[in-house]
């Protein structure tokens, strides 16, 4: 059942998929940029700024999806104790945080012409901001221990705690928003979205999805090397004589 839980085997599959992901992501990105920036019409109310949506919305979807993936990996690490899930979560965190950041910045830039100000405590933007804080917390905790192997379990636990809290945070932020802002400032495309716009959105979602996954695979390669490196250093210590071991212990303390 845990055939793919073997990190080396998983990595072999991932390495084989990497060029495909990069290629597909690149092609979709070109198509999406063409469709989004050139072929699709401007909105009659928002004019050209509607084109920000093709970057903003996919980034938002993927940032949330990546956090969910991180939590799944962390949960599998906590339950079955195989390290792959934890390594995947660690590899995904910076990519998800970058997407979250892109979503926030494009949201703010979009806000200027649409709302007249860069930042509004709109429910969607606010919950993305909190998601970014959760990403930061995870990355900080994962790297906060002098003995790096000690950070795995706390970080995994935090990812799971975070994913349990996200619905609560989202709900409370929306609740807060309905009380403080009586009118929604703008309605997103909704079901009546122009098919050209929908196509651009889907292409960009696919492009960013493949590219972000490719980036996560590259980072996973790094995380695996970290583990091997640590094991190799440990082996080096064991070959040394006992006195040197003690000295090493003292200097690391």
């Amino acid at each position: 059942m845990h055939r793919f839980a073997n990190p080396a085997r998983f990595m072999r599959v991932a390495e084989r998929l990497l060029p495909w992901f990069l290629g597909l992501g690149g092609i979709l990105l070109l198509a999406g940029l063409y469709q989004g920036l050139i072929a699709s019409p401007a909105d009659y109310q928002q004019h050209e700024t509607v084109r920000i949506m093709y970057l903003h919305v996919p980034a938002a979807i993927l940032a949330q999806g990546f956090y969910f993936g991180m939590a799944l990996g962390s949960a599998s690490f906590l339950i079955w104790k195989h390290p792959l899930g934890d390594l995947m979560a660690r590899a995904m965190a910076p990519v998800g945080a970058a997407l979250c950041f892109i979503c926030l910045v494009t949201g703010a830039i979009w806000g200027k012409p649409t709302w007249g100000t860069y930042w509004v405590w709109d429910a969607r933007l606010t919950s993305m901001l909190i998601l970014l804080f959760l990403y930061f917390g995870y990355m900080a905790l994962a790297n906060a221990f002098d003995d790096p192997s000690r950070g795995h379990k706390p970080a995994a636990l935090l990812a799971v705690v975070g994913v349990v809290n996200i619905p609560v945070i989202k709900f409370s932020v929306y609740f807060f928003n309905t009380l403080h802002q009586k009118s929604t400032l703008f309605a997103e495309g909704g079901p009546s979205m122009d098919p050209d716009m929908l196509l651009a959105l889907m292409l960009m979602l696919g492009a960013l999805g493949f590219l972000a996954t490719a980036m996560a695979i590259i980072r996973l390669r790094g995380e695996m090397t970290v583990v091997k490196l640590r094991a190799a250093r440990h082996g080096l210590n064991r070959h040394d004589d006992a006195t040197q071991d003690v000295k090493h212990e003292e200097t690391t303390r």
């Binding site: 804080f133 906060a144 706390p154 935090l158 975070g162």
Partner: protein
């Protein structure tokens, strides 16, 4: 099981009393920080009155957060935590006892001081009972969620700062419902839904936070 809970509660309370300067410091922070706001936003009673519930709640959050290191840090350093985990009693119950002691040592004094802050910040009279009730319902959740953060950062570098980063985003729902309850009361709306949400958060954290904190403690003492 309640026996173990009461034992650990009594032990931690005794420790809190012996080190009562810790509690006094947190309370002093609460009051001094509140005294900064009139300087920051101007002494106009109307402005202060409007933002007073928010200030009290945010400062309560920060005060609880600053006192979280008391929960496990000392016991972890002197090895007591390791001994506690060796008892046959379920660890989540022990965590619950420690969180309860933390709330009595931090949450209750904060609630007692909240009216003073209300006077300092010109809080509307009708808002007092709701603010106090909201704090009474919300601060136990803060101690419980904080226990998870405190347990996760045991042994980490810069544990205090890290804890702030981990815990504050998770405190946001409590803050929102606590403040909107006061706003609703001042505006003449029903506070029931707000309190129900606060209660739901409390029940959920009562059930889940001890489990998460216990898992983190196990990892820390290994």
């Amino acid at each position: 099981m309640t026996g173990v809970f009461l034992t650990i509660l009594k032990r931690d309370l005794l420790l809190t009393i012996r080190q009562s300067t810790d509690v006094a410091l947190v309370m002093a922070f609460f009051v001094v920080a509140a005294a900064l706001f009139p300087f920051g936003v101007g002494p106009g009673p109307e402005t202060l009155g409007r933002i007073a519930p928010g200030i009290v709640w945010v400062l309560a959050l920060l005060a609880v957060m600053l006192s979280l290191d008391r929960l496990f840090q000392q016991d972890w350093e002197d090895g007591a935590l390791e001994l506690i985990t060796l008892t046959p009693a379920p660890l989540p119950i022990l965590v619950l006892g420690k969180a309860a002691a933390h709330w009595i040592g931090t949450g209750l004094p904060l609630i007692a001081l909240a009216p003073l802050l209300g006077i300092m910040l010109n809080l509307t009279e009708t808002a007092y009972p709701i603010l106090i009730a909201g704090l009474a319902l919300g601060t136990p959740s803060l101690s419980l969620i904080g226990a998870v953060g405190a347990a996760l950062t045991l042994g980490a570098r810069r544990a205090g700062l890290l804890m702030a980063l981990l815990v504050l985003p998770l405190y946001i729902p409590v803050l929102i419902f606590g403040v909107t309850a006061v706003d609703a009361a001042v505006a003449g709306f029903s506070v029931r839904p707000h309190f129900l949400y606060l209660g739901a958060i409390l029940l959920a954290s009562l059930a889940l936070a001890p489990l998460a904190a216990a898992a983190a403690i196990r990892n820390a003492v290994e």
